[in-house]
Amino acid sequence: MMRKPFAITLDPGSSLANHTGTWRTERPVYVDRLPPCNSACPAGENIQGWLSHAESGDYEAAWRVLTADNPLPAVMGRVCYHPCETACNRAALDAAVDINAVERFLGDEAIRRGWAFARPAHSSGKRILVVGAGPSGLSAAYHLARAGHAVVIHDAGPFAGGMMRFGIPKYRLPRDVLEAEVRRIVDLGVEIRLDSKVTNILHTMRDDGFDAAFLAVGAHIGRRAYIPAGSSARILDAVSVLRSMEGSDKPMLGRRVVVYGGGNTALDVARTAKRLGAEEAIIVYRRTREKMPAHDFELEEALQEGVMVKWLSTIKQAGESSLTVEKMALDETGFPQPTGEFETLEADSLVLALGQDVDLGLLDGVPGLEIDRGVVKVAANMMTGHAGIFAGGDMVPSERTVTVAVGHGKKAARHIDAWLRGATYAPPPKNEPASADRLNTWYYSDAPKTVRPLLDVIRRQSTFDEVQGGLDESNALFEARRCLSCGNCFECDNCYGVCPDNAVIKLGPGRRFEFNYDYCKGCGLCAAECPCGAIKMVPEAI
C-alpha cells in the first residue's frame, strides 16, 4: 500500500474498469456486401477480389482468383462488353474502373510468364462429353477438369475456339492469344477432338462411355432473308464470310460491299471488308443509331475506319452491281415503316448479317428434349429435358456473348459435378448489394480513368492488327487501384482511427478488425466514415 498524498484515499485506477459498452443502443458490425461489378458479371467473376490482389501488385494471385471463375482472361479482356463497368459505382465519381483493361493485362501477363492451372488433386473416374470448343464448352471443360473429371471436347471445326475463332475478327482477338488460353486448358488434361462433328449425341455418349454431356454448339448458321435477286447478284452471309477469314481463301467481296443488319456481326463484317481492300463498306440498317443493337463504341470505331451506314433503309432487291433500297420512317411505336421511296446503291456484294441459328441436328431423336424457337430449353441447373444432358451458350435462350457463354459453362460444370454425385448444387447465398449510397467517397483520391491506346486509323483500314492496345504494368496498377472496394473492407484503418473510444481492434494485415463491445458506445462514427460501406449499425436488443 503506497503512501498517499493529503486527502487522497484511493489508489489510482484505470478507466478500463468502466465498461462504456453499456451505453450502446446500436452496435456496429462488419459486413461483406456484393459489389455491383461482381453482381453484374455474367461469368460470375469475383472482380473485386482479383482487383484487390492486383492493387498490391501481386498479379499472379490476382490471376488465380480470376481464373477460379473464368479460364479465359486474356480473351475476356478483349472481347467482353464489360457489364461490370456499366455497374461500377465509380462511374458516379469520375469514370468506371477499366476492369476489362486490367483483366486483359492479367491475362497477357499470365501468357507471358507461363502461369499454369493447378491440376486436380484427385480423379473422380467420371467421363464427360462436351460438344463444342467455344467459350461455353471450354469453360465447362475447364471447371469439370479442375473438379477431377475426365473431359473430352468434340468440335466440328478445324480449330478450337468456336465463335471466338470463327466469329470475332482478328483485329479484336489475335489468334495467338486465343490459342495460348486454349492450350492452357488442354494442358490441364482436357482432350479436344477437332474436325469431329457429333451427329447423334446419344450414340456418341453410349459409344464412348460418357457419364454426362454438356452441349455448347455455337450459332454458326447465318439467317437468310428473302430478297428478290438477279441470278448474278452476289449474296453472302456474315458468319460464312467471317469463318472463311480463318481459311486460306479469303472471301471475294469486291470494291463496294453492302452489309445488311445492325448487330455487332454486321460491324465485324463491314470492318473486315474494309481491311480486305473494299473502297466502300456500307451498312444498311432499317432503324436508327439509337435503336441499333450493336455496341456504340464498336460503331464509333467502324465509322473512324471509314465504314458508312445508311440508317432507316431496307433492301428490296439485289442486282449484279446494284441494290434497290427503300427508305423507312419510324412510326409512333418506334417501329420502321416503308415510305415507298426507293434509291439505288452500287454494290459488288451483299452480306447478310441478320442473326444466327444453331445447328441442332445432333439432338434429333433425343427423348425429353424441348426445343423452342431454335434453342434448347434447360432447367435452372442447365440440364435439358433429358437426364445427364446439359446445355449452354448460344444454344439455350439467353444473350449470346462470350461472357455469358463462359458463365453458362461454369454454372453447368457445377451442376454436372453435383449431379454425378447424386447431389444438388446450391449456390451460396448472396450478400446484400453494395450500393453507391453506402460509400463515403470523400476518402477516395480523384483519379481519372486510364485511356487504352487505339491503333491509328491508317493501319486499322489495311491490316488486321489488334485495334485496342493494352495497359502496361504501371497503368494497370493505377487502374486497379481506382477500385473503391464497394462493400468489402480493404483495411484503410479508418474505423480503427476514428473511434473516440479505441473500441476497434486492428488484427493485422489481411486479418481486418474487430469491435471491442466492452467500450464501444455505438456512436456510429466508424460506420459513417467507412469509405466502402463495410460497417453496418444494428439495433441492440434492449
Binding site: 478507466s15 465498461h19 484503418d493 482511427g497 456510429g524 469509405p531
Partner: protein, 332 residues
C-alpha cells in the same frame, strides 16, 4: 498542403491508413502499437470530437517525443470525462490543477525539468476553448510572451460543454447556447468582434502556431510533429465537434468538422514566428449552409423561417477567410 500528400494508393491522403503504403509512411493512428494515450473507458459522449482529437494529438506527440511527455490539463470536458476520481484514462504523466492555469502549470513543469537537466522530456498544456480563450487566457499569453518551452493545445468545441453548453469567446455568431438562446431580435450568439486566438498567438511571434481539425488526421499529426521540432512556446488550435452542444448526430462529428474546413469557416493553416507558412486548401468548396444545416445550434436560421441575411453574414466570414488565407489553391 504543408506536408507531402500521400500519392494515389486506392485512397490517398484522407484515410487513416493504407495497406499499400510502406509502414514508415503510415499515420500514427494506423499503427497497431499506437500509445492510445487517452484510453477506453472514458466518459465522453458518444462520438465526442474532443476525445478523438486529444488521442490523435497526444499519440502523435508521444511518437514525436519518443514517449517522453508530460501533460497539464485545464478544467473542462477533457479533464472531467477522462479522470473521475480515482480512475484515469490517461496513459501518460498527466496533471490537472485549475481551470485557468494550465499554461502556467506547464510552464512550471518545463522549468523544473530544465532545472533537473531533463530537457528531453517535453511538456504539453491542453484545454478546451473555455480554459484557453477565456479563463486561462492571461496565463496563456504569459507563456507565449516568455516563450516557455510548452506546446499548448486548445481543443475548440466553441462553448462550455461540460457545464451545459454556455457561450464562450470562441462561440460562433448566431449559434444557440444555453446563454445565447434562439430568441428575440437576434437569436443566438451575437455577431461580435470575435476572438481569434491563433491570430493572437501569432501576434506574440512565437515559433509555431497551427490550426487543425479532427477531419484531417494526416494534417493534424503533421502539425503536432512539426510543433515538437521547435523549442519555446507553440500553439495548436484543433476544431473538435461536439454532438451534444452543437446538436448533430454522434456519427457526424468528423463530417461536421470537415464541413467547417471545406466551407472556409475554419481556416486550416500553420505559421512560424508570426508568419503564415502553409494553408490546407479546400478540396470541394461548399456554401456555409451545408455546415449550418445539420447542427441544431443553428436550426433557428432555417426554422420556422429561413434567415438568408444571417446565413449570408456567416458566408461573408467564410469568404473573408478564403480570401485572407488563399484557401482555394490547388486541391490536395
Amino acid at each position: 498542403m504543408p506536408f507531402q500528400p500521400i500519392k494515389y494508393y486506392q485512397t490517398g491522403t484522407h484515410t487513416v491508413g493504407n495497406r499499400l503504403l510502406a509502414p514508415e509512411t503510415r499515420s500514427v493512428q494506423a499503427d497497431m502499437q499506437r500509445t492510445n494515450s487517452l484510453n477506453s473507458g472514458h466518459r465522453a459522449c458518444q462520438g465526442c470530437g474532443e476525445a478523438l482529437g486529444a488521442r490523435y494529438a497526444i499519440d502523435a506527440a508521444m511518437r514525436a517525443s519518443s514517449n517522453q511527455l508530460v501533460a497539464a490539463n485545464a478544467t473542462g470536458c477533457l479533464e472531467v470525462f477522462s479522470t473521475p476520481y480515482p480512475e484515469t484514462s490517461w496513459q501518460i504523466p498527466w496533471i490537472h490543477s485549475l481551470f485557468g492555469n494550465a499554461a502556467a502549470v506547464a510552464t512550471g513543469i518545463a522549468a523544473a525539468l530544465r532545472a533537473k537537466g531533463r530537457g528531453a522530456v517535453r511538456v504539453i498544456a491542453q484545454g478546451g476553448d473555455g480554459g484557453t480563450t477565456d479563463i486561462g487566457f492571461g496565463c496563456l499569453s504569459g507563456m507565449f510572451e516568455r516563450n516557455d518551452d510548452v506546446l499548448y493545445i486548445c481543443y475548440d468545441n466553441e462553448a462550455y460543454m461540460n457545464t451545459g453548453v454556455q457561450r464562450s469567446s470562441a462561440t460562433p455568431p448566431a449559434a444557440r447556447t444555453a446563454t445565447t438562446m434562439a430568441v428575440g431580435e437576434q437569436p443566438g450568439n451575437s455577431f461580435g468582434q470575435g476572438k481569434n486566438v491563433p491570430a493572437i498567438a501569432m501576434a506574440h511571434g512565437i515559433p509555431y502556431v497551427a490550426t487543425a481539425t479532427i477531419a484531417e488526421l494526416r494534417d493534424l499529426e503533421y502539425k503536432v510533429t512539426r510543433a515538437m521540432q521547435f523549442h519555446g512556446a507553440r500553439y495548436l488550435h484543433i476544431l473538435v465537434s461536439c454532438p451534444l452542444g452543437w446538436g448533430h448526430a454522434s456519427d457526424a462529428s468528423i463530417r461536421i468538422a470537415r464541413l467547417a474546413k471545406e466551407t472556409g469557416l475554419f481556416p486550416v493553416f500553420e505559421a512560424e514566428h508570426g508568419e503564415v507558412t502553409g494553408v490546407s486548401h479546400i478540396r470541394k468548396q461548399l456554401p456555409v449552409e451545408e455546415y449550418l444545416r445539420p447542427q441544431r445550434r443553428f436550426a433557428h436560421l432555417f426554422n420556422p423561417k429561413l434567415q438568408p441575411d444571417v446565413i449570408a453574414a456567416i458566408q461573408r466570414i467564410a469568404d473573408r477567410n478564403i480570401g485572407k488565407f488563399g484557401l482555394l489553391g490547388a486541391p490536395s
